[in-house]
Subunit: 299 residues, 2 copies
């Protein structure tokens, strides 16, 4: 019989987070671990403090690729790839340990206690530095590649970090928007953003200028929103979901970026399918990954 709590670990962010999560997807206790110093030891220490005989297992959300048992690549914590972290936790705590990609697992979290709670099927997109996602189908996480940020929205277009060209991520992510802004400033485009010079300009800065009416800043968000809308239309036509759930830093720019995406998707997707799809923000935000990771122990 399954036990009433699990430990969820989110290894995806700059801080590593460990929490005790109830079967219903509520966080009842949590510890944040710095990703500097001896990370492995700190993580084990945090789990130790939270562990009890009521824990059903440990679930890990990892930024990068996993095959469900091994961490195949972990860009922000490469050390995790080099050691058998899952095996180590399993023997140390004598409990099952599960692994999932952070964006997929976040979708699972939203389906347990977030914006997808009462939905059968939805697609979640995480809109941040990169774009990731996950698909919940009939209330279960689809165990697919799920590289939802790498659907091609402009064939032969901008080079993407993945090596492909014209991916959604190369047009609608935070990194893409910063790149476009810096390129435009170098090209001496008319904008209030010139003060940034060749320094990194972040989407939050661009958004501030967009709200002040800067035409370049507005154009950057609208173009990104247009491509996001094409990606959303694709996911509507493929999955016919109850909802597209959006999460990540960029949804702070909902009024320009997401609104443009919704407008684009409305004309690009099948009418009957679009009409039944809610396009809504995540409810759990940064906690979706940790809640979804814990849920892995019940799947």
């Amino acid at each position: 019989m399954s036990k009433p709590f699990s430990i969820g670990v989110d290894l995806g962010g700059t801080n590593l987070r460990v929490a005790v999560v109830s079967r219903e997807g509520e966080i009842v206790d949590r510890i944040t671990v710095s990703s500097t110093g001896n990370v492995i030891e700190s993580l084990i220490g945090a789990i130790e403090r939270l562990f009890s005989d009521k824990i059903n297992g440990i679930g890990l959300a990892v930024a990068g690729l996993t095959d469900g048992k091994k961490i195949l690549s972990s860009p922000n914590l490469p050390i995790l790839k080099e050691i058998d972290f899952v095996g180590m936790l399993q023997s140390r705590f004598n409990t099952p340990v599960y692994l999932g990609n952070d964006a997929s697992v976040a979708a699972l979290g939203e389906s347990i206690s977030g914006a997808g709670k009462d939905m059968n099927t939805f697609v979640m997109l995480t809109l941040g530095t990169g774009i990731g996602g996950g698909v919940v189908y009939n209330r279960r996480l689809l165990n697919i590649a799920g590289e939802l940020g790498h659907v091609i929205v402009e064939p032969g277009g901008r080079l993407c970090g993945c090596g492909g060209k014209g991916c959604l991520e190369a047009y609608a992510s935070a990194r893409a928007m910063s790149t476009v802004a810096m390129e435009a400033i170098e090209l001496k485009r008319d904008t209030m953003m010139t003060q940034y010079g060749s320094r990194d300009i972040m989407p939050a800065d661009i958004y501030k200028y967009a709200l002040e009416g800067d035409p370049l800043a507005i154009e950057i968000f609208k173009t990104a929103g247009f491509y996001l809308g094409i990606g959303i239309a694709n996911y509507i036509n493929i999955f016919g979901p109850d909802a597209i759930i959006l999460m990540g830093g960029l949804i702070g720019a909902w009024d320009i970026y997401v609104k443009k995406a919704i407008k684009t998707a409305a004309t690009a997707a099948f009418k009957e399918l679009y009409a039944k799809t809610a396009i809504i923000p995540s409810k759990l935000g940064g906690d979706a990954g940790i809640i979804g990771a814990a849920e892995l122990t019940y799947c």
Copy 2:
């Protein structure tokens, strides 16, 4: 306990086909029904002749939309939408009756006794007048919208029959290729195909000229193949499947059209995912729908 045979009905083509199919996906008896005259009566007559107490149920593959119980739209047999065909068959034969979209159901057929037999997860694309498809995930048909021909491969591009712009179907289907050929002929492009004038030129004709070295004919297949490759790359990145299975009349042009698609997908998709994906033709061809429809009674 389930019985060893089912009746599969394919309402998708110009001829309507009814067959007895074994649990293993072999067709053991079949009748073809003309779609002229009193179709409903002919169909019921054909089912009557094949029905026995060894029949587990009846499965119907329909071109168009279904919700699994009702036929919501049936472009080639509109009459089916107007009557409760499923209910009628159910009471007449006192056996369960199931409905599916013809392209999805064809994917199910390929997973039972075709090219997807030993695969867990694959995407099938049917390449004909239009483009459809289905996704088999962990050996089960995903019950999603599955409008796989309506992924957008060129934002703001050619108007598609669905009302959207730039869909895969508007670039890589037989109808798209005929349209492009006729437009080019009207524009007096240099080609041996001018003899067709404004008459419908079919992909089989274009392919014949392509094999003879006609530059316009080759360009038409390569452009269509390029966009098919973008679509395939998208499905590889989204699903990470064991295979992309291609079926339909256009795969006769494998050497130009599909080869170009494969080359395009190889550079556009994630390398690790592309490497594990076979891109192969259907084994069952025109029988995939009927075999898949019969299988619906066991799902």
